[in-house]
Amino acid sequence: MTPQVALALRLALIAVVTVLVQISAVSQVSLLGVSADLSPLVVASVGLLCGSTIGAVMGFAVGLFVDTALLQTLGVSSLVLLGVGYWAGRLRELRDPAHGLTPVAVGAAATAAAAIGFSLVQFLLGVDAPVSLLLLRDILVTIAVNAVLAMPVYALVRRSLARVLPQDPRRRRRRAYVTGGLSPISRA
Protein backbone atom coordinates (compact mmCIF):
# COMPACT_ATOMS: atom_id res chain seq x y z
CA MET A 1 0.00 0.00 0.00
CA THR A 2 1.46 3.37 -1.01
CA PRO A 3 1.81 6.10 1.64
CA GLN A 4 -0.76 8.27 -0.19
CA VAL A 5 -3.38 5.51 -0.10
CA ALA A 6 -2.61 4.78 3.57
CA LEU A 7 -2.98 8.49 4.38
CA ALA A 8 -6.28 8.72 2.46
CA LEU A 9 -7.67 5.67 4.27
CA ARG A 10 -6.72 7.00 7.67
CA LEU A 11 -8.19 10.41 6.88
CA ALA A 12 -11.45 8.76 5.75
CA LEU A 13 -11.59 6.76 8.97
CA ILE A 14 -10.92 9.87 11.06
CA ALA A 15 -13.71 11.72 9.21
CA VAL A 16 -16.26 8.94 9.80
CA VAL A 17 -15.36 8.48 13.47
CA THR A 18 -15.42 12.25 14.06
CA VAL A 19 -18.90 12.68 12.62
CA LEU A 20 -20.33 9.65 14.43
CA VAL A 21 -18.88 10.66 17.81
CA GLN A 22 -20.05 14.23 17.23
CA ILE A 23 -23.63 13.25 16.37
CA SER A 24 -24.19 10.47 18.86
CA ALA A 25 -22.24 11.73 21.88
CA VAL A 26 -20.68 15.19 21.86
CA SER A 27 -23.75 17.02 20.50
CA GLN A 28 -25.90 15.51 23.23
CA VAL A 29 -23.65 16.80 26.01
CA SER A 30 -24.40 20.38 26.99
CA LEU A 31 -21.69 22.45 28.66
CA LEU A 32 -22.76 25.93 29.78
CA GLY A 33 -25.69 25.65 27.41
CA VAL A 34 -23.69 24.72 24.29
CA SER A 35 -22.14 21.63 22.78
CA ALA A 36 -18.56 21.27 21.58
CA ASP A 37 -18.06 20.96 17.82
CA LEU A 38 -15.31 18.52 16.90
CA SER A 39 -15.53 19.01 13.13
CA PRO A 40 -13.56 22.30 12.83
CA LEU A 41 -11.00 21.03 15.36
CA VAL A 42 -10.31 17.83 13.42
CA VAL A 43 -10.24 19.61 10.06
CA ALA A 44 -7.88 22.30 11.37
CA SER A 45 -5.62 19.63 12.91
CA VAL A 46 -5.43 17.78 9.58
CA GLY A 47 -4.67 21.06 7.81
CA LEU A 48 -1.89 21.84 10.29
CA LEU A 49 -0.37 18.38 9.84
CA CYS A 50 -0.90 17.71 6.14
CA GLY A 51 -1.09 21.10 4.41
CA SER A 52 -3.68 23.22 2.64
CA THR A 53 -4.81 20.90 -0.17
CA ILE A 54 -5.41 17.89 2.07
CA GLY A 55 -6.92 20.18 4.72
CA ALA A 56 -9.41 21.58 2.20
CA VAL A 57 -10.35 18.12 0.91
CA MET A 58 -10.78 16.86 4.49
CA GLY A 59 -12.97 19.88 5.33
CA PHE A 60 -15.14 19.27 2.28
CA ALA A 61 -15.50 15.55 3.08
CA VAL A 62 -16.29 16.02 6.78
CA GLY A 63 -18.79 18.78 5.95
CA LEU A 64 -20.47 16.64 3.32
CA PHE A 65 -20.76 13.72 5.73
CA VAL A 66 -22.16 15.95 8.50
CA ASP A 67 -24.77 17.43 6.16
CA THR A 68 -25.69 14.02 4.78
CA ALA A 69 -25.91 12.19 8.11
CA LEU A 70 -27.95 14.97 9.74
CA LEU A 71 -30.19 15.61 6.71
CA GLN A 72 -29.09 19.24 6.63
CA THR A 73 -28.79 21.44 3.56
CA LEU A 74 -26.04 19.81 1.50
CA GLY A 75 -23.04 22.00 0.77
CA VAL A 76 -23.25 24.43 3.73
CA SER A 77 -20.90 22.63 6.14
CA SER A 78 -18.65 21.57 3.22
CA LEU A 79 -18.20 25.17 2.12
CA VAL A 80 -17.40 26.40 5.62
CA LEU A 81 -15.12 23.54 6.67
CA LEU A 82 -13.11 23.44 3.45
CA GLY A 83 -12.20 27.08 4.13
CA VAL A 84 -11.14 26.13 7.67
CA GLY A 85 -8.96 23.24 6.45
CA TYR A 86 -7.37 25.30 3.69
CA TRP A 87 -6.58 28.19 6.03
CA ALA A 88 -5.00 25.90 8.67
CA GLY A 89 -2.90 24.27 5.96
CA ARG A 90 -1.73 27.59 4.58
CA LEU A 91 -0.76 28.67 8.08
CA ARG A 92 1.50 25.64 8.34
CA GLU A 93 2.95 26.19 4.85
CA LEU A 94 3.62 29.89 5.26
CA ARG A 95 4.48 30.28 8.95
CA ASP A 96 5.21 26.75 10.17
CA PRO A 97 4.27 27.73 13.75
CA ALA A 98 6.46 25.94 16.28
CA HIS A 99 4.89 27.01 19.57
CA GLY A 100 3.39 24.20 21.65
CA LEU A 101 0.09 26.03 22.07
CA THR A 102 -0.42 26.55 18.34
CA PRO A 103 -3.18 23.88 18.14
CA VAL A 104 -5.17 25.72 20.85
CA ALA A 105 -5.03 29.05 19.02
CA VAL A 106 -5.72 27.42 15.65
CA GLY A 107 -8.59 25.35 17.14
CA ALA A 108 -10.21 28.46 18.64
CA ALA A 109 -9.77 30.43 15.40
CA ALA A 110 -11.10 27.50 13.34
CA THR A 111 -14.17 27.21 15.58
CA ALA A 112 -14.80 30.96 15.35
CA ALA A 113 -14.41 30.89 11.56
CA ALA A 114 -16.73 27.88 11.24
CA ALA A 115 -19.41 29.35 13.53
CA ILE A 116 -19.34 32.77 11.87
CA GLY A 117 -19.14 31.26 8.38
CA PHE A 118 -22.07 28.94 9.11
CA SER A 119 -24.13 31.85 10.43
CA LEU A 120 -23.31 33.98 7.36
CA VAL A 121 -24.35 31.21 4.97
CA GLN A 122 -27.60 30.74 6.92
CA PHE A 123 -28.32 34.47 6.70
CA LEU A 124 -27.62 34.40 2.97
CA LEU A 125 -29.99 31.46 2.53
CA GLY A 126 -32.68 33.21 4.57
CA VAL A 127 -33.72 32.58 8.16
CA ASP A 128 -37.41 32.10 8.94
CA ALA A 129 -37.12 32.86 12.66
CA PRO A 130 -35.86 35.92 14.55
CA VAL A 131 -32.20 35.69 15.55
CA SER A 132 -31.24 36.53 19.11
CA LEU A 133 -28.08 38.40 20.07
CA LEU A 134 -27.52 35.56 22.54
CA LEU A 135 -26.26 33.63 19.52
CA LEU A 136 -23.02 35.60 19.95
CA ARG A 137 -22.74 34.36 23.51
CA ASP A 138 -23.26 30.78 22.29
CA ILE A 139 -20.54 31.24 19.66
CA LEU A 140 -18.10 32.62 22.24
CA VAL A 141 -18.79 29.80 24.71
CA THR A 142 -18.40 27.21 21.93
CA ILE A 143 -15.03 28.76 21.01
CA ALA A 144 -13.91 28.55 24.65
CA VAL A 145 -15.06 24.92 25.03
CA ASN A 146 -13.42 23.96 21.73
CA ALA A 147 -10.18 25.70 22.71
CA VAL A 148 -10.01 23.43 25.75
CA LEU A 149 -10.55 20.37 23.55
CA ALA A 150 -8.20 21.52 20.77
CA MET A 151 -4.98 20.13 22.25
CA PRO A 152 -6.23 16.56 22.92
CA VAL A 153 -7.99 16.45 19.54
CA TYR A 154 -4.79 17.58 17.77
CA ALA A 155 -2.75 14.99 19.69
CA LEU A 156 -5.21 12.23 18.72
CA VAL A 157 -5.23 13.23 15.05
CA ARG A 158 -1.42 13.50 15.02
CA ARG A 159 -1.08 10.10 16.65
CA SER A 160 -3.50 8.55 14.16
CA LEU A 161 -1.56 9.97 11.21
CA ALA A 162 1.96 9.66 12.67
CA ARG A 163 3.10 6.72 10.53
CA VAL A 164 1.72 7.93 7.22
CA LEU A 165 2.52 11.65 7.35
CA PRO A 166 4.95 12.70 4.60
CA GLN A 167 6.48 15.35 6.87
CA ASP A 168 5.80 15.65 10.57
CA PRO A 169 6.44 19.27 11.63
CA ARG A 170 7.73 18.24 15.06
CA ARG A 171 10.17 15.69 13.63
CA ARG A 172 11.33 18.25 11.09
CA ARG A 173 12.05 20.76 13.82
CA ARG A 174 13.93 18.21 15.90
CA ARG A 175 16.13 17.35 12.92
CA ALA A 176 17.02 21.01 12.57
CA TYR A 177 18.58 21.00 16.03
CA VAL A 178 20.35 17.62 15.76
CA THR A 179 23.34 18.31 13.53
CA GLY A 180 25.47 15.27 14.30
CA GLY A 181 29.13 16.10 13.95
CA LEU A 182 28.65 18.88 11.45
CA SER A 183 28.10 21.76 13.89
CA PRO A 184 30.58 24.61 13.48
CA ILE A 185 31.03 24.58 17.26
CA SER A 186 32.10 20.91 17.28
CA ARG A 187 34.47 21.54 14.37
CA ALA A 188 36.13 24.30 16.33
Partner: protein
Protein backbone atom coordinates in the same frame (compact mmCIF):
# COMPACT_ATOMS: atom_id res chain seq x y z
CA UNK B 1 7.73 23.26 -10.11
CA UNK B 2 6.62 25.80 -7.47
CA UNK B 3 4.21 27.48 -9.89
CA UNK B 4 2.75 24.11 -10.82
CA UNK B 5 2.19 23.29 -7.17
CA UNK B 6 0.50 26.64 -6.57
CA UNK B 7 -1.70 26.16 -9.64
CA UNK B 8 -2.73 22.68 -8.47
CA UNK B 9 -3.54 23.92 -4.97
CA UNK B 10 -5.70 26.75 -6.29
CA UNK B 11 -7.42 24.46 -8.77
CA UNK B 12 -8.35 21.99 -6.00
CA UNK B 13 -9.69 24.84 -3.84
CA UNK B 14 -11.74 26.29 -6.72
CA UNK B 15 -13.09 22.84 -7.57
CA UNK B 16 -14.19 22.16 -3.99
CA UNK B 17 -15.84 25.58 -3.61
CA UNK B 18 -17.64 25.07 -6.92
CA UNK B 19 -18.75 21.58 -5.85
CA UNK B 20 -20.14 22.97 -2.58
CA UNK B 21 -22.07 25.70 -4.38
CA UNK B 22 -23.44 23.24 -6.94
CA UNK B 23 -24.57 20.92 -4.13
CA UNK B 24 -26.22 23.81 -2.30
CA UNK B 25 -28.08 25.00 -5.39
CA UNK B 26 -29.14 21.53 -6.47
CA UNK B 27 -30.34 20.65 -2.95
CA UNK B 28 -32.49 23.77 -2.77
CA UNK B 29 -33.91 23.14 -6.20
CA UNK B 30 -35.10 19.58 -5.65
CA UNK B 31 -38.17 18.26 -3.84
CA UNK B 32 -38.14 16.06 -0.74
CA UNK B 33 -38.20 13.00 -3.00
CA UNK B 34 -35.16 14.10 -5.05
CA UNK B 35 -31.90 12.17 -5.37
CA UNK B 36 -29.96 14.15 -2.74
CA UNK B 37 -32.72 13.72 -0.16
CA UNK B 38 -32.88 10.02 -1.04
CA UNK B 39 -29.10 9.78 -0.61
CA UNK B 40 -29.39 11.38 2.83
CA UNK B 41 -32.09 8.92 3.87
CA UNK B 42 -29.91 6.07 2.61
CA UNK B 43 -26.94 7.27 4.66
CA UNK B 44 -29.17 7.67 7.72
CA UNK B 45 -30.42 4.11 7.22
CA UNK B 46 -26.84 2.83 7.19
CA UNK B 47 -25.49 4.94 10.04
CA UNK B 48 -28.52 4.65 12.36
CA UNK B 49 -27.47 1.30 13.92
CA UNK B 50 -23.92 2.62 14.43
CA UNK B 51 -25.28 5.81 15.97
CA UNK B 52 -27.56 3.79 18.23
CA UNK B 53 -24.65 1.64 19.41
CA UNK B 54 -22.34 4.57 20.08
CA UNK B 55 -25.18 6.52 21.71
CA UNK B 56 -25.77 3.68 24.18
CA UNK B 57 -22.03 3.17 24.79
CA UNK B 58 -21.38 6.84 25.45
CA UNK B 59 -24.40 7.42 27.71
CA UNK B 60 -22.33 7.30 30.96
CA UNK B 61 -20.07 10.04 29.55
CA UNK B 62 -23.09 12.15 28.61
CA UNK B 63 -24.58 11.65 32.08
CA UNK B 64 -21.30 12.70 33.72
CA UNK B 65 -21.14 15.97 31.83
CA UNK B 66 -24.87 16.41 32.34
CA UNK B 67 -24.35 16.10 36.08
CA UNK B 68 -21.82 18.97 36.05
CA UNK B 69 -24.18 21.15 34.03
CA UNK B 70 -27.11 20.28 36.29
CA UNK B 71 -25.12 21.17 39.40
CA UNK B 72 -24.25 24.58 37.99
CA UNK B 73 -27.89 25.31 37.14
CA UNK B 74 -29.41 23.69 40.24
CA UNK B 75 -29.53 26.72 42.55
CA UNK B 76 -31.16 29.03 40.01
CA UNK B 77 -33.57 26.28 39.10
CA UNK B 78 -34.53 25.70 42.75
CA UNK B 79 -35.30 29.38 43.37
CA UNK B 80 -37.29 29.62 40.19
CA UNK B 81 -39.25 26.47 40.95
CA UNK B 82 -40.10 27.67 44.48
CA UNK B 83 -41.63 30.83 43.04
CA UNK B 84 -43.44 28.81 40.42
CA UNK B 85 -44.77 26.38 43.04
CA UNK B 86 -46.22 29.19 45.14
CA UNK B 87 -47.85 30.71 42.09
CA UNK B 88 -49.25 27.37 40.95
CA UNK B 89 -50.68 26.57 44.40
CA UNK B 90 -52.85 29.63 44.12
CA UNK B 91 -53.95 28.75 40.64
CA UNK B 92 -54.68 25.08 41.36
CA UNK B 93 -57.39 26.09 43.79
CA UNK B 94 -59.07 28.15 41.08
CA UNK B 95 -58.54 25.38 38.53
CA UNK B 96 -60.19 22.75 40.73
CA UNK B 97 -63.29 24.87 41.03
CA UNK B 98 -63.28 25.48 37.27
CA UNK B 99 -62.85 21.74 36.60
CA UNK B 100 -65.88 20.86 38.67
CA UNK B 101 -67.89 23.51 36.92
CA UNK B 102 -66.61 22.29 33.54
CA UNK B 103 -67.63 18.70 34.28
CA UNK B 104 -71.13 19.82 35.25
CA UNK B 105 -71.50 21.90 32.09
CA UNK B 106 -70.24 19.04 29.91
CA UNK B 107 -72.83 16.73 31.39
CA UNK B 108 -75.45 19.36 30.69
CA UNK B 109 -74.56 19.60 26.97
CA UNK B 110 -73.91 15.84 26.70
CA UNK B 111 -70.25 16.05 25.63
CA UNK B 112 -67.78 13.23 26.28
CA UNK B 113 -64.44 14.19 27.67
CA UNK B 114 -61.80 13.18 25.09
CA UNK B 115 -58.17 12.59 25.84
CA UNK B 116 -55.60 14.86 24.16
CA UNK B 117 -53.90 12.09 22.22
CA UNK B 118 -56.99 10.03 21.58
CA UNK B 119 -56.69 8.35 18.18
CA UNK B 120 -52.90 8.31 18.27
CA UNK B 121 -50.64 5.41 19.11
CA UNK B 122 -47.53 6.65 20.92
CA UNK B 123 -44.31 4.91 19.82
CA UNK B 124 -41.43 5.32 22.26
CA UNK B 125 -38.09 6.01 20.57
CA UNK B 126 -34.53 6.47 21.77
CA UNK B 127 -32.59 9.59 20.73
CA UNK B 128 -29.47 8.40 18.88
CA UNK B 129 -28.18 11.59 17.29
CA UNK B 130 -28.32 15.35 17.49
CA UNK B 131 -27.30 18.24 15.26
CA UNK B 132 -24.23 20.10 16.60
CA UNK B 133 -25.29 23.58 15.48
CA UNK B 134 -27.94 25.95 16.81
CA UNK B 135 -29.08 26.62 13.23
CA UNK B 136 -30.48 23.11 12.86
CA UNK B 137 -32.34 21.90 15.94
CA UNK B 138 -32.86 18.29 14.94
CA UNK B 139 -32.52 14.91 16.61
CA UNK B 140 -32.36 11.40 15.17
CA UNK B 141 -34.42 8.64 16.79
CA UNK B 142 -34.24 4.86 16.41
CA UNK B 143 -37.80 4.25 15.16
CA UNK B 144 -38.79 4.52 11.52
CA UNK B 145 -41.46 3.52 9.04
CA UNK B 146 -41.31 -0.11 10.21
CA UNK B 147 -42.72 1.08 13.56
CA UNK B 148 -45.48 3.07 11.87
CA UNK B 149 -43.69 6.42 11.91
CA UNK B 150 -44.53 8.83 9.08
CA UNK B 151 -43.43 12.34 8.14
CA UNK B 152 -45.22 15.20 9.98
CA UNK B 153 -46.25 13.13 13.00
CA UNK B 154 -46.00 15.01 16.31
CA UNK B 155 -43.30 14.10 18.82
CA UNK B 156 -43.65 14.61 22.58
CA UNK B 157 -41.70 13.92 25.73
CA UNK B 158 -43.02 13.42 29.26
CA UNK B 159 -42.97 17.20 29.72
CA UNK B 160 -44.57 18.43 26.53
CA UNK B 161 -44.31 19.01 22.80
CA UNK B 162 -40.88 18.32 21.30
CA UNK B 163 -41.35 18.69 17.53
CA UNK B 164 -42.42 16.75 14.47
CA UNK B 165 -41.00 14.04 12.23
CA UNK B 166 -39.42 15.46 9.08
CA UNK B 167 -37.70 12.45 7.49
CA UNK B 168 -38.20 8.72 7.85
CA UNK B 169 -36.24 5.65 6.88
CA UNK B 170 -37.00 2.03 7.71
CA UNK B 171 -35.32 2.04 11.10
CA UNK B 172 -34.72 5.69 12.00
CA UNK B 173 -36.33 9.10 11.76
CA UNK B 174 -35.29 12.71 11.94
CA UNK B 175 -37.26 14.94 14.29
CA UNK B 176 -37.21 18.71 13.84
CA UNK B 177 -37.54 20.33 17.25
CA UNK B 178 -39.82 23.28 18.02
CA UNK B 179 -36.62 25.33 18.53
CA UNK B 180 -35.56 24.86 14.88
CA UNK B 181 -35.62 28.06 12.82
CA UNK B 182 -38.11 26.51 10.38
CA UNK B 183 -40.59 25.50 13.08
CA UNK B 184 -43.96 27.12 13.75
CA UNK B 185 -46.76 25.71 15.92
CA UNK B 186 -50.23 27.19 16.29
CA UNK B 187 -50.79 27.58 20.01
CA UNK B 188 -53.30 28.74 22.57
CA UNK B 189 -52.72 30.47 25.90
CA UNK B 190 -54.64 28.95 28.78
CA UNK B 191 -55.57 32.14 30.51
CA UNK B 192 -58.10 32.35 33.33
CA UNK B 193 -59.68 35.35 31.58
CA UNK B 194 -62.34 34.28 29.09
CA UNK B 195 -62.00 36.03 25.71
CA UNK B 196 -64.80 37.28 23.48
CA UNK B 197 -64.43 34.32 21.11
CA UNK B 198 -64.34 31.86 23.98
CA UNK B 199 -61.40 29.95 22.47
CA UNK B 200 -58.56 31.54 24.42
CA UNK B 201 -55.74 33.65 23.00
CA UNK B 202 -54.10 32.05 20.01
CA UNK B 203 -50.83 32.69 18.19
CA UNK B 204 -47.91 30.96 16.54
CA UNK B 205 -45.02 29.65 18.61
CA UNK B 206 -41.70 30.29 16.86
CA UNK B 207 -38.15 29.92 18.09
CA UNK B 208 -35.51 32.65 18.41
CA UNK B 209 -32.23 31.34 17.00
CA UNK B 210 -29.67 31.32 19.82
CA UNK B 211 -32.25 31.05 22.61
CA UNK B 212 -33.31 27.41 22.93
CA UNK B 213 -35.03 28.05 26.28
CA UNK B 214 -37.05 31.00 25.05
CA UNK B 215 -39.74 30.54 22.41
CA UNK B 216 -41.80 33.41 21.04
CA UNK B 217 -45.57 33.41 20.75
CA UNK B 218 -46.19 35.68 17.78
CA UNK B 219 -49.33 37.34 16.36
CA UNK B 220 -50.96 37.86 19.74
CA UNK B 221 -53.09 41.05 19.75
CA UNK B 222 -51.81 43.85 21.99
CA UNK B 223 -55.04 44.01 23.94
CA UNK B 224 -54.85 40.31 24.89
CA UNK B 225 -54.47 39.94 28.63
CA UNK B 226 -51.60 37.50 29.10
CA UNK B 227 -49.94 36.98 32.46
CA UNK B 228 -46.63 35.48 33.46
CA UNK B 229 -47.19 31.84 34.38
CA UNK B 230 -50.00 31.18 31.89
CA UNK B 231 -49.63 27.81 30.20
CA UNK B 232 -49.33 27.56 26.40
CA UNK B 233 -50.71 24.49 24.61
CA UNK B 234 -51.15 23.44 21.00
CA UNK B 235 -54.22 24.99 19.42
CA UNK B 236 -54.93 22.00 17.19
CA UNK B 237 -57.77 21.81 14.75
CA UNK B 238 -60.16 18.96 14.23
CA UNK B 239 -61.52 20.18 10.92
CA UNK B 240 -61.76 17.33 8.42
CA UNK B 241 -60.37 19.52 5.60
CA UNK B 242 -57.45 21.21 7.33
CA UNK B 243 -56.51 19.01 10.22
CA UNK B 244 -53.66 20.29 12.33
CA UNK B 245 -50.42 18.29 12.52
CA UNK B 246 -50.53 18.56 16.29
CA UNK B 247 -53.50 17.44 18.39
CA UNK B 248 -55.04 20.10 20.58
CA UNK B 249 -53.93 20.76 24.16
CA UNK B 250 -50.43 19.29 24.05
CA UNK B 251 -48.46 21.33 26.61
CA UNK B 252 -45.77 23.53 25.00
CA UNK B 253 -44.53 25.85 27.73
CA UNK B 254 -45.23 28.62 30.19
CA UNK B 255 -45.36 32.38 29.60
CA UNK B 256 -42.33 34.16 31.09
CA UNK B 257 -43.01 37.71 29.89
CA UNK B 258 -44.86 39.73 27.27
CA UNK B 259 -43.23 42.58 25.32
CA UNK B 260 -45.63 45.30 24.24
CA UNK B 261 -44.14 46.58 21.00
CA UNK B 262 -45.18 50.18 20.36
CA UNK B 263 -45.15 50.14 16.58
CA UNK B 264 -46.89 46.81 16.18
CA UNK B 265 -50.47 45.73 16.59
CA UNK B 266 -49.18 42.54 18.16
CA UNK B 267 -47.38 41.82 21.39
CA UNK B 268 -44.49 39.40 21.60
CA UNK B 269 -44.92 36.77 24.29
CA UNK B 270 -41.93 34.82 25.58
CA UNK B 271 -42.54 31.16 26.39
CA UNK B 272 -40.24 28.77 28.23
CA UNK B 273 -40.76 25.25 26.84
CA UNK B 274 -41.74 22.57 29.35
CA UNK B 275 -39.53 19.97 27.68
CA UNK B 276 -35.76 20.27 28.14
CA UNK B 277 -34.91 19.96 24.47
CA UNK B 278 -31.16 19.85 25.03
CA UNK B 279 -31.39 16.74 27.15
CA UNK B 280 -33.67 14.18 25.55
CA UNK B 281 -32.98 10.48 25.87
CA UNK B 282 -36.42 9.14 24.92
CA UNK B 283 -39.35 10.67 23.07
CA UNK B 284 -42.77 9.49 21.97
CA UNK B 285 -43.94 9.74 18.38
CA UNK B 286 -47.71 10.04 18.10
CA UNK B 287 -48.41 7.72 15.20
CA UNK B 288 -51.75 7.25 13.54
CA UNK B 289 -52.34 3.59 14.21
CA UNK B 290 -55.23 1.48 13.00
CA UNK B 291 -57.93 2.44 10.54
CA UNK B 292 -57.65 6.18 11.05
CA UNK B 293 -54.00 6.26 10.07
CA UNK B 294 -54.61 4.15 6.99
CA UNK B 295 -57.56 6.31 5.99
CA UNK B 296 -55.48 9.47 6.39
CA UNK B 297 -52.71 8.06 4.23
CA UNK B 298 -55.19 6.91 1.59
CA UNK B 299 -56.69 10.39 1.52
CA UNK B 300 -53.19 11.78 0.94
CA UNK B 301 -52.64 9.35 -1.92
CA UNK B 302 -49.98 7.35 -0.07
CA UNK B 303 -49.86 3.73 0.97
CA UNK B 304 -49.92 3.04 4.72
Amino acid sequence: MYKQSVRRRRAVLALLVAASLVLLTAYFGESAGGPFHALQRGVLEVTAPIQEGSSRALKPLRDLFGWFDDTIDARDERDRLRKERNELRKRVIGAQAAERENAQLRRLVNLDRSDTVDGYEPVTARVIGRSPTVWYATITVDKGSSAGVRVDQPVVSGDGLVGKVTAVTGGASQVTLITDSTSGVSARVLTPVVTDSGNGITGVVQPAVGRPRDLLLEFVPRRANIRKGDAVVTAGSQSSRLESLFPANLPIGVVTKADDEELSQYQRVHVRPFADLRRLDFVQILTRGGDRGAATLRAQGRTP
